[in-house]
């Protein structure tokens, strides 16, 4: 499409530290794209290169047909909502919003400003100064100040990071609504995986200056490509296993002496040693030796080691015979009693919920998430 944002082989080094490493990325026009990763993964640097605030060491950035790699920031049809908002403290809210339009030489911007403030529901604040507004209001001013310029790409650098949880959820919905309404390309940088999944059409998970995986949120979540994605996006149980055979699209595995199966659709690796993964909420925790269907994967002999009640669900830690602790989330439907620590249990899940990853990776990659 004409307005796609394309990064080709983009690298950025600060001295000997490579923040962004040979990055290829195409962000389709009009999409809500999230760059997700822990701090230091290069996502903010990538954003700043698109904004023109940082110059790539190598590679090119194009917007539609135009090469913007070395274009000055003030000449790019790109605007940023900064992490700390960076509102001009000496200007009123209306003047802040009008700033970009005025610098572009537009004279009568009052009605545009008014319309923008209406969009973010801050008409009443037009004459105030940024310091007189709450964090959430400042965030909306920053958004209006960028949006009024109708940039081809709007960059959002952790725009909700400074807000409390409740306000953040509210703003997520608000941002998504505005994006749908104005139809601009949004590139959203965040370390909050829930935020990325709620808002974006496409999520790119970044780690160590590279993209680990890119796709729709469901795709990333259900079929992670690496242990990093499996752990950073939600939680995963990763158990060492071995592929013992294949039967069409069914892969047969051996996990600590138990035979289980997996679908080939979610298999990133289908021979030799693998990490056998399953999401905690996909696992059904059952009483020891309870009746079950043959088609389910089953790991027996577990003992409940920890139970935490978190309202909507209960999170169990189950110690398996080989010593590993697996996590199980169960909805608090109230249909049965909760297990207690020490109860003997079996774990069951559907074969198609299994994903297989290359065993050469670190199973703990991406586990320590910041800010949670």
């Amino acid at each position: 499409m004409s307005g796609d944002l394309t990064l080709t082989s983009v690298t950025k080094s600060f001295g000997r530290f490579t923040a962004v490493d040979d990055l290829y990325l195409t962000i389709p026009e009009g999409s809500f794209f999230a760059l997700l990763g822990p701090s230091g993964c290069g996502k903010t640097t990538t954003l700043r290169m698109v904004a023109g605030l940082e110059e790539p060491t190598a590679g090119t950035i194009t917007l539609g047909e135009q090469d913007i790699t070395r274009l000055k920031p003030y000449k790019r049809p790109v605007n940023t909502v900064f992490q700390s908002y960076a509102l001009f403290p000496h200007l009123t809210i209306a003047q802040n919003v009008a700033f970009g339009r005025r610098r572009q030489g537009h004279k009568n911007v009052d009605s545009e400003v008014e319309k923008m403030l209406e969009l973010v529901e801050l008409q009443a604040m037009a004459k105030r100064r940024p310091a007189q507004l709450s964090g959430g209001q400042q965030q909306r001013v920053a958004l209006a100040r960028a949006l009024i310029n109708q940039p081809q790409v709007l960059l959002l650098d952790e725009p909700l990071g400074a807000l409390d949880l409740k306000l953040r959820r509210q703003m997520q919905i608000e941002l998504k609504r505005i994006q749908t309404e104005v139809g601009l390309t949004f590139v959203h940088v965040t370390h909050d995986q829930e935020e990325a999944m709620t808002m974006a059409d496409t999520v790119a998970v970044m780690n160590g200056g590279r993209i680990e995986q890119l796709g729709a949120p469901e795709e990333l979540y259900e079929a992670p490509a690496t242990t990093f994605v499996a752990n950073f996006l939600g939680q995963s149980n990763l158990v060492a296993g071995k592929v013992v055979g294949r039967d069409g699209s069914v892969i047969h595995l051996d996990v600590e002496g138990t035979a289980i199966t997996a679908g080939s659709a979610r298999a990133r690796s289908d021979e030799g040693d693998v990490w056998v993964g399953v999401r905690p909420e996909k696992v059904y925790i059952s009483e020891k030796d309870e009746e079950r269907g043959d088609e389910l994967n089953c790991l027996v002999g577990g003992v409940v080691s920890d139970v935490s009640f978190v309202g909507v669900s209960t999170q169990y830690l189950v110690r398996m015979p080989w010593g590993q602790e697996l996590t199980v989330f169960e909805q608090n439907t109230g249909n049965r009693e909760r297990f207690r620590p020490g109860d003997p249990v079996d774990l069951l899940w559907r074969p198609e919920h299994t994903f297989l990853l290359d065993a050469s990776q670190d199973a703990a990659a991406g586990v320590d998430r910041e800010g949670e």
């Binding site: 903010t44 640097t45 920031p73 003030y74 709450s134 964090g135 400074a162």
Partner: protein, 304 residues
């Protein structure tokens, strides 16, 4: 590291200007007690001398130090001193204005460089700005006498490149006086400017660039307005003492570069206290009026 960009975010839900805090602080005698030492000092060394000065300015000038003065409400002291010394008053303000302008031109880039570009040299540069204070003002001005001297390096070099004629000179000229004033008060310009500039979040400059402002436009619409308090403070700290200065004109000037400070000093020396006092009061009032007008125009009343 790119992670360093993930800096602590903006204050969240900053409390609106509250009352409770200030109310508790205002109550009780603690505030008055804290103001007492400073207040006494001010009364003793500012209010009393000012009253004395103003009353002296109204004494009968026919008296003398030896015989004593009579308080006659002789306001003609003012008209007399104004008509006698208006060239010096005008010259004082002109020189002070030129020195202030020069201080802005020299000091702004310097303060900007220290605040934004100096990196780890920041504090070294700040110390370098303050370092001249370790020597007395008088000695530093005397050093300028030497630097600008007819047979010294600067003048001979300027003669060689024909900027000065073969018998041209620098010392004892208005240029020397303004140069001396500029030098003497430059730190008073740089320090408040630096304090203002240093407080500017560099991300505001990035936001400006992101919002279609060229570097020049960012300076005009973001940097300069935010540096305004420092600029106003700096110009006041430079202009006010420069207007009353007499050492530079004394040591670096000639009889035609005399400033009002020189005349006041001479009048006191000659024992003409009433005229000297009238001239002092005139200078003071003129400065206060100028400063008020200036601060109003600059829109930085909160400084006063």
């Amino acid at each position: 590291m790119s992670g360093a960009r993930d800096l602590p975010a903006a204050p969240v839900d900053k409390a609106l200007p509250g009352h409770s805090d200030e109310d508790t602080r205002r109550r009780g005698p603690a505030g008055y007690l804290l103001m007492l030492p400073g207040g006494l000092w001010l009364a003793l060394f500012f209010v009393v001398p000012t009253v004395t000065l103003v009353s002296t300015s109204l004494y009968d000038p026919s008296g003398s130090l030896a015989l004593g003065y009579q308080m006659t409400g002789h306001w003609q002291n003012y008209t007399q001193s104004l008509s006698d010394y208006s060239p010096q008053i005008v010259r004082s303000f002109l020189y002070a204005l030129m020195a202030t302008a020069a201080c802005v031109l020299l000091g702004f880039p310097l303060a900007y460089a220290i605040a934004f570009k100096a990196g780890r040299w920041k504090y070294v540069m700040l110390v370098a700005v303050i370092a001249p204070f370790f020597t007395s003002f008088l000695v530093r001005t005397l050093a300028w006498q030497y630097l600008l001297g007819d047979n010294e390096f600067l003048v001979s070099m300027l003669r060689k490149v024909h900027i000065l004629g073969s018998d041209g000179y620098l010392l004892d000229t208005p240029f020397a006086v303004v140069t001396g004033l500029t030098y003497g008060f430059l730190p008073f310009m740089v320090l408040p400017l630096y304090a203002s500039l240093e407080k500017i979040d560099p991300r505001l400059l990035e936001a400006g660039a992101d919002l279609y402002a060229s570097p020049l436009s960012v300076f005009r619409h973001v940097t300069l307005p935010l540096a305004m308090p420092g600029l106003v403070a700096g110009t006041l700290l430079t202009f006010i003492p420069a207007s009353g200065d007499y050492i530079n004109a004394e040591l670096l000037g000639n009889p035609r570069t005399r400033m009002v400070g020189n005349e006041i000093q001479d009048l006191f020396g000659a024992g003409d206290y009433p005229t000297a006092a009238a001239l002092s009061v005139t200078l003071m009032v003129a400065i206060v009026v100028l400063v008020l007008v200036y601060v109003r125009r600059a829109g930085t009343e909160e400084l006063l």
